[in-house]
């Protein structure tokens, strides 16, 4: 007997231990702890080959690094600042960047040094159409002269050695009488070319404007994708192109270049202690990241960085407001429905029964969308209010039946005693039946309340940023499922526990057994309960008001039309949660009211229904939408930012990475990508994916996508269509693999990748450095702009 008990005790302990270890392992896995390799000193360029290299995405260094150091782990960052931070926090060992930018960084960061600047130098030139040698010759002559008199050098110094904010771009007069020349620029980055306060500025711009002024040219500037520059020039859409374009043999096949007007040097930077000739004598112990550190890091990046906890707090507030008010509204409405249902009038009964079966038969999500898009479609009503009404209506249907069951369970004698005692029906209900029914209904009511709280997690569909949505936003940014989800789960649990406590208090108050035996107190219970409810509602109203108006002031709805990006601030801007447009808007337009949407179609609808003033998304999709509804929308000419589109892949399949990257390179070079872009995005018809037979000799490629993202991946006439789908088939064909496509939401894809359920996701994914902590991205296969679409102004 004792032995058995001991054994059991041991097993129990053992099991607990195992559970704990397993839990820790899961935590470690989920936290996506970055695999840090010990650093060894760098002496030459070749030492970089097995290091973690950081680059700013979208520049030539990216391609250079992946080609020159195929074994290296390359991380891409959005900005020079992020890149520097990565070096300093040892997320990467070295960084390749523009020499000028590197010098700039070193000024304030003594711990960072330059390993070498002898790695990559490109001559930079202006591109001309091969059929227009005359213009190029004139420009070359202009350049020669400027070089000779030193004014080119002066202009270069002005743009490259000074703080960008202080540089003055000289005013150039328009020259309408002159010969028309169209210049294509990508306005990628200053100091070469940019767009500031409605003006094109930058070294390249000033240079060409000067040239134009001298040669009496009517210069028109057109901004476009960097990747589209060469093609536009070759096709004659523009006459010259500029924007720090490196002269290389490949490009020279398609366009003519001027003589170089500058050289772009490249620097490799690293922490000084990691560079042999700068390291001095100090030796640092090899660092390895422990589990706790990775947890801390996960916490930091998901909760602390960019004040993300504020997102969660805001979401929490919204969830609380929606939950509490729908409970209040739903309970009142439920009481009313119950009254109708129990009424003796047949018409009342019928109405209530119809209402109840309708509400119970329609999914809450559908109800929510109907309320938002149809019933309140044209009314300027806060989506939070819509959510409260929708959830309350649903809640009412369920609780009304609970109320009825509770009331009917009260012995008829109680009613009779009340009536016979001289109370009218209402008094009998209020004084005698209700106090007893409340006690009976509470236990089931509690369950319904909790399920309502959890149900509110779908409000993201109507652009309410609740707790779940906040976690989605963070996840889409960090690609880390663990912390945001855990945090959200804990918070939902906390809300539920809190509400349960409140209801338990109500339960205790309404329970005659637990009350003080003094008669005075006993009859006060009802009043106390009411008082509690009143205080609760008042507190909630206070909270609600303190969140500020959920809807911007009416000025935004009726205010000035949006004519340029600078008009966006303070407006209601629809974005798709987690997209770059979302981040850009949140960063740049602090006063804008962000309307979070799930699908572009919904966002466009919201814009059309005046629920948003602009929709910021990738230009390709916007153009696609505009092509189909030109009467409703227009797209602002300026771009907010440029992004790269790439394929996130499982991080544990390096072989696949290599193959995919080389395939994308091949497709880029042989014009496949351009063909796809033309076919799916720029042309107006309804293309289809050609039949591609996959033999599957090399196994199966499991791919995730979201079939709600026209024109990238969508269903057309019952079959999958879109640029991403066709690309996927081409990739699979190239790899000799069968294709297994799973349709899922964007958030699910990230988690599926991490869990190894899919091998890659082709779904118009923007390449963001933070995402690269969680999974590996291929090289970019498309470039895109973030632009803003607005309602078409009525003439």
């Amino acid at each position: 007997m004792d032995i058995i008990i001991l054994q059991e005790a041991f097993q129990l302990k053992h099991t607990r231990h195992l559970l704990f270890v397993t839990l820790l392992m899961i935590l470690a896995l989920l936290a996506g702890c970055s695999k840090q390799t010990p650093t060894s000193r760098l002496a030459t360029i070749e030492d970089m080959s097995n290091k973690r290299i950081g680059v700013v995405s979208g520049f030539i260094y990216d391609k250079f690094a992946s080609e020159r150091f195929p074994a290296a782990q390359i991380s891409r960052y959005n900005s020079q600042t992020d890149l520097l931070l990565a070096i300093k926090s040892e997320k990467v060992d070295v960084a390749i960047t523009n020499y000028a930018a590197a010098k700039n960084m070193l000024k304030d960061n003594a711990e960072v040094g330059i390993l070498t600047d002898q790695i990559l130098t490109f001559p930079i030139g202006i591109g001309f159409n091969k059929n227009n040698p005359e213009l190029r010759a004139r420009f070359d002559a202009f350049l020669q002269a400027r070089k000779a008199d030193g004014s080119l050098e002066t202009m270069y110094r002005k743009w490259f050695d000074n703080d960008l904010d202080t540089i003055k771009m000289p005013k150039f007069k328009a020259n309408p009488g002159g010969r028309k020349v169209v210049l294509g620029v990508a306005i990628g980055d200053l100091p070469s070319a940019g767009y500031v306060d409605g003006e094109y500025v930058g070294f390249d711009i000033e240079l060409i404007q000067t040239f134009a002024a001298q040669e009496n040219i009517n210069l028109q500037i057109l901004s476009m994708d960097f990747s589209a520059l060469i093609a536009s020039l070759a096709s004659g859409k523009v006459d010259m192109i500029a924007d720090c374009i490196a002269i290389n043999a490949e490009r020279q096949k398609q366009v003519d270049f001027s003589i170089p007007y500058m050289e772009d040097k490249t620097a490799v930077i690293a922490l000084k202690k990691n560079i042999s000739h700068l390291a001095g004598s100090q030796q640092e112990a090899v660092r390895s990241i422990s589990l706790t550190q990775s947890l801390v890091e996960g916490f930091h990046s998901n909760i602390i960085r960019e004040n993300r906890y504020l997102l969660i707090l805001d979401g929490l507030k919204t969830t609380l407001v929606i939950s509490l008010f729908s409970i209040l509204f739903g309970t009142l409405l439920g009481g009313f429905i119950c009254f109708l249902r129990m009424s003796r009038r047949k018409s009342f009964q019928l109405t209530a029964r119809l209402y109840i079966s309708l509400m119970r038969g329609v999914p809450v999500l559908v109800l929510l969308m109907i309320m938002y898009y149809v019933i309140f479609g044209n009314a300027n009503v806060s989506p939070v209010l819509v959510a409260i009404v929708a959830f309350g209506m649903n809640f009412a249907a369920y609780v009304s039946e609970m109320f009825r069951a509770a009331i009917e369970s009260i012995d008829r004698g109680q009613t009779e005693a009340g009536i016979a005692g001289g109370f009218n029906k209402f008094q009998t209900f209020v004084y005698i039946i209700m106090p007893q029914a409340i006690r009976r209904v509470l236990s089931v009511y509690k369950g319904e309340v909790i399920s309502l709280v959890k149900m509110t997690s779908i409000v993201g569909y109507i652009a309410v940023q609740d707790l779940t949505k906040a976690s989605d936003i963070i996840r889409s940014r960090t690609f880390d499922a663990f912390f945001p989800l855990l945090m959200t789960a804990v918070l939902y649990f906390a809300i539920s526990a809190l509400l349960l406590q409140l209801l338990d208090a109500l339960d205790r108050l309404s329970d005659p057994r637990r009350k003080n035996r003094s008669g005075l107190l006993a009859s006060r219970a009802g009043r106390l309960t009411l008082l509690l409810l009143a205080i609760l509602s008042l507190a909630m109203v206070a909270v609600y008001n303190s969140t500020g108006p959920t809807e911007p002031k009416s000025t935004s709805a009726t205010g000035a039309a949006i004519k340029s990006l600078s008009d966006l601030d303070g407006k209601r801007i629809a974005v798709i949660t987690g997209t770059t447009g979302d981040f850009v808007i949140r960063e740049k337009y602090k006063n804008a009211k962000v309307v979070d949407m799930v699908y572009p179609a919904d966002a466009a609808l919201a814009l059309r229904a005046n629920k948003a003033d602009a929709f910021v998304f990738d230009r390709n999709t916007l153009q696609y939408i505009l092509a189909r509804h030109p009467q409703y929308y227009e797209i602002l000419p300026e771009r907010l930012s440029t992004v790269e589109i790439a394929i996130p892949m499982r991080s544990d399949a390096p072989d696949l990475h290599r193959k995919i990257n080389s395939a994308i390179n091949k497709f880029k070079q042989d014009g496949t990508i351009d063909r796809l872009k033309n076919k799916w995005i720029l042309s107006a018809g309804t293309p289809t994916v050609p039949k591609i037979t996959l033999d599957g000799r090399n196994g199966v490629l499991r791919m995730g996508t979201c079939l709600l993202s026209e024109p990238y991946a969508f269903m057309s006439n019952g079959v999958m269509a879109g640029l991403d789908i066709e690309l996927a088939f081409l990739l699979a064909e190239h790899l000799g693999m069968k294709l297994d496509i799973t349709d899922m939401s964007y958030d699910a894809m990230i988690a599926a990748l991490q869990a190894g359920k899919i091998d890659l996701a082709i779904a118009n994914f923007y390449k963001l450095n933070e995402r690269e902590a969680a999974c590996v991205f291929s090289i970019a296969y498309l470039e895109n702009d973030i632009s803003a679409m607005v309602r078409r102004q009525q003439p």
Partner: protein
């Protein structure tokens, strides 16, 4: 005070009350008795409109309350009602059960209402339970609280709907004692009850209800000791009957004896009485009546048992010319006659419209 005329009430297709006519005067205590299912409770519940009568009129203090525009709640405040199942408010203490009505309906202050409530609780003997909840009380205590709850509203009449039917026999008397005291103090009351002794001793008038009407009414002494109508008698004396028809000379005497024994066993444990009855039946049938018939006879045999007195009575009925068998019995059968006379208390012979009736009291 209350005058009921031609009152009727129909549930679906069934007329529970057909034609009720009654007067209740101030200070009267009316007991309403009768078999189950004859509409006693329905009649009572029609009086305070808990049930809406189908027809007729109820005039209270000169106003027909069945007319539209009657303030029913106000009417009911003057008419207390005590239910069979008590119906105390389950969520309120005993004290609050008493004060709820006066405070909410009569506008009394809590202080006044409680003072009166405590006084009433004292008068019904449950004042020490004032802070307890109804389900902590015994049945008798609950019913006394319910009565006190009625009294708290200062009613002009109290309607009792079988106030002791749901009680253990041990608790009946404590409730009846309270009602008895109310009667003594002159409270007008209408009581539906099965407690015959109580009805007899307390009431000023008794309604016997049957067949949806007030079948017989009168002073308790008349109704209980000398009911005018057969149904009333059967009810009052709580008579149980055993009937058998003898239609053959060669009838199965042993089966008849067994059935008689079975009936008797339900009402008495006295084996001697049973065997006496069997003996008398055998003698009367075999020696006194059957010899009168040449062919097959047709004799109705009835054995009655009165639960009230505990007496058995045998009744033989048969068609034929008037001929008292007790007198015309041949000498050699004197043995049977003597036996019968020895076993019975008394006997009688009647002849009416061609039928002979023999009554034998045991």
């Amino acid at each position: 005070m209350i005058s009921v005329k031609n009152l009727s009430k129909r549930f679906g297709g069934y007329w529970v009350l057909k034609d009720i006519n009654a007067e209740i005067h101030k200070g009267e205590v009316i007991s309403i008795i009768g078999p189950s299912g004859t509409g006693k409770s329905t009649f009572l519940r029609c009086l305070n409109l808990l049930e809406r009568p189908t027809g007729g009129s109820i005039v209270i203090d000169g106003v027909n309350i069945l007319q539209k525009g009657t303030d029913e709640p106000k009417l009911r405040r003057k008419m207390g009602m005590v239910f069979q199942s008590f119906n105390l408010f389950a969520h309120l203490t005993v004290l609050d059960n008493l004060t709820l009505g006066p405070m909410k309906l009569l506008g009394k202050s809590r202080q006044d209402a409680e003072a009166k409530a405590i006084e009433l609780l004292k008068s019904v003997g449950v004042s020490e339970k004032q802070h307890q909840y109804p389900d902590e009380l015994s049945g008798g205590q609950k019913q006394r609280v319910a009565i006190a709850r009625c009294l708290a509203m200062d009613p002009e009449i109290i309607l009792f709907d079988e106030p002791t039917s749901a009680l253990d026999p041990t608790m009946v008397s404590e409730v009846l004692a309270v009602i008895r005291r109310l009667a003594k103090n002159g409270m007008t009351m209408a009581i539906v009850t099965h407690e015959m002794d109580f009805a007899k001793n307390v009431s000023s008038r008794v309604f016997y209800m049957d067949e949806g009407v007030i079948y017989e009414e009168g002073k308790p002494i008349d109704i209980f000791d000398n009911p005018q109508k057969e149904k009333t008698r059967i009810f009052i004396q709580r008579i149980r009957k055993f009937c058998e028809k003898v239609v053959s000379r060669h009838f199965d005497l042993y089966k008849l004896q067994a059935n008689l024994e079975l009936f008797c066993a339900r009402h008495t444990t006295d084996k001697r009485t049973v065997s006496h009855i069997q003996l008398v039946v055998e003698e009367v049938l075999g020696q006194m009546i059957l010899p009168l018939f040449s062919g097959d006879p047709e004799i109705d045999l009835t054995l009655e048992y009165s639960e009230k007195t505990g007496d058995f009575q045998l009744l033989f009925e048969y068609a034929g010319p008037q001929q008292n068998p007790f007198l015309t019995l041949p000498d050699e059968d004197n043995l049977s006659l003597r036996l019968i006379e020895k076993l019975t208390k008394s006997n009688s012979y009647n002849w009416a419209s061609g039928r002979n009736q023999i009554n034998i009291f045991l």
